[in-house]
Amino acid sequence: MPHASAEPSPRTDVLVAGGGAAGLTLALALKSALRGQLAVTVCDPALSSPPRRDDRAFALAAGPRRMLETLGAWEAIAAEAEPIRSMIITDSRTSDPVRPVFLDFSGDVGPDEPFAHMVEHGALIEALLHRAREAGVVLRAERVLGVDTRPERAVARLSGGGTLAASLVAACDGAGSPLREQAGIGTVSWPYRQSGIVATIAHERDHEGRAEEHFLPSGPFAILPLRGRRSSIVWTERSDNVPALLGLDKEDLLAEIERRFGLRHGKLTLETPPVAWRLQFMVARRFVGDRLALVADAAHVVHPIAGQGLNLGLRDVAALAEAVVGQAALGLDPGSHEVLKEYERARRFDTVAMGLVMEGLNRLFSNDVAPVRLVRDVGLGLVDRMPGLKRFFIRQAAAVAPAAPRLLRGESL
């Protein structure tokens, strides 16, 4: 008897490895469809403690925000989110006293719908956890140690000593994804020699919901509006310069920030100590394996130049959830080759295109060569004068283009 030797593992339909924003949203999206028929389990050792309140804030584009609204998680996040009502882009030397505005994106995606919101990481995770629990997602504070794949199912070994069989494993386990490594899926990557310094700044005057991106020679410097008179800065700097900058005493550091931040917002104070993240570009050679889907950072890491990291991950979630639910709605295997093919087809182009655009933008702007400045400024100026093209950029940035997955358009599955 071939069955007798194998102790049957407990079974779930979809096992989500990693309880970050992407993993939790995926679990919630799957559980919210088909009247909760799919069994969904999230495994992450971090689930044993309350969500870490870190200082990162994300720009959540309109499409992914609609998805969170459809899934019932937005209301709780909205209380702490700040709409981005307009966005300006400048291209200047750091020392220029006045930075002419080359591109001014203002306007909403739809009536009363800003094209993005700034959301703080802790609030996002807390809201998603609450909704996932409410919807009936099984949350286990365990690590997925490895996955053995058989034709009919994947069997995960968990850090608690048990096993769990699943039709599909979604690896939402971050840029260094152990499950991706184990599946033998390689990556293409290169470091940028740039780091992102992130901090929360309080300022005297109101930001009026305006996001600013200043293309300075060392890299883009972004100011993103938070609740109250606060902003999150994402300061891209050559990695060589970072230790010296972070080693400055508070006054000098603040002066450096002020040089880049500008004076429009009045006096600045540091709310949190700045933290540096090394930037890289990484894309997995494949987004799927046998009964395995790589999601969000496990599949790709892009330059944060346009704040697209979280949004790209949530676009993955929307596409994967749609493929899985479409299949399950027909009683078909949610981890089948067909589902995975559909997911990869839906995401691969978008991701690589976005990655290369970010890469190109960064290379184009992170320098101070006069002819290059001229070309890019003429380019940005042209975009600013062509309403159709600008709307295209806004809609792309908001991820609500017509071909987007249903969840991003605010429809349920």
Binding site: A33, Q37, P151, E152, A328, L330, D333
Partner: protein, 258 residues
């Protein structure tokens, strides 16, 4: 081996066809194997069945288990490609096939996947004789393999409960079907084993309607299924010149009643 009690020779079964299917039965569940085309085709026919059954019985097609509580008979179930999904949608499914290997493959797979399906090596005529009746009877991609379409259709009709539904899918006997389903799919593209289909056994929609009328049924919906070579997928469409599916219900008043 199995006891011969379950065997029901004769009737509308073509013995040569049964033997041929046994040879390929082992590969039923390999999505890239001999049945690749059927795997690709499967979502279209499941959706067609699910949506029409949901409508007929007043269910919500997307509620996860729209077929809850309905009995379904899949005639010519093969390896169970249709039975398992329908069972997951809530139906109580019985799959029958005259080929013992098919039934064995289907049983093994259902055990491994946990889908509750009852499989039997039997013919629809035998089930009708036992008095078994079902809410939904399916004969998908079967008509073109049977020896006598009229007798087979009548037996399928007889297995349906008074308010139930019957679904059939088959290949139209057109030149296009010959070119695509036999020359194209079997010889040029190698999607199907050579000899899977014989064009003379293909059935036109009119002939199928006649055969169903003989069983007291009327076609309530019909659709073509066409292949999109760019996406490699199948979809329902109005073109019925090659593959097509029909849904049928009992005609209001049985014809030819004295």
């Amino acid at each position: 081996m199995k006891s011969m009690a379950a065997a029901t020779p004769g009737g509308t079964i073509d013995e040569a066809e049964v033997a041929r299917f046994e040879r390929i039965a082992r590969t039923w569940w390999d999505p890239n194997g001999a049945m690749k085309t059927l795997h690709r085709f499967n979502p279209v026919r499941i959706q067609y069945i699910r949506d029409h059954v949901a409508e007929h019985f007043g269910r919500d097609a997307r509620d996860g288990r729209p077929l809850e509580g309905l009995s379904v008979l899949d005639v010519g179930c093969g390896g169970g490609l249709l039975c398992e999904p329908l069972a997951r949608l809530g139906a109580t499914v019985t799959g029958i096939d005259p080929a013992p290997t098919n039934v064995e493959v289907a049983r093994l797979h259902a055990d491994a996947s946990g889908a509750p399906v009852t499989y039997r090596r039997a013919t629809v005529e035998a089930l009708v004789a036992e008095g078994a009746r079902f809410d939904v009877v399916l004969a998908m991609e079967v008509v073109e393999h049977v020896a006598d379409v009229r007798m087979f259709a009548e037996a399928c009709c007889a297995a349906v409960k008074p308010e139930g539904m019957l679904f059939m899918a088959t290949l139209n006997r057109t030149l296009r079907a010959f070119a695509l389903a036999i020359v194209g799919a079997e010889y040029v593209l190698g999607w199907l084993p050579k000899g899977t289909h014989q064009w003379e056994k293909f059935v036109t929609p009119d002939e199928l309607a006649d055969a169903l009328a003989g069983g007291g049924f009327r076609i309530s919906d019909e659709t073509g299924v066409v292949y999109n070579p760019l996406t490699g997928s199948w979809r329902a469409a109005s073109d019925m010149s090659v593959n097509y599916m029909v849904a049928a219900t009992r005609a209001q008043r049985p014809s030819a009643r004295a």
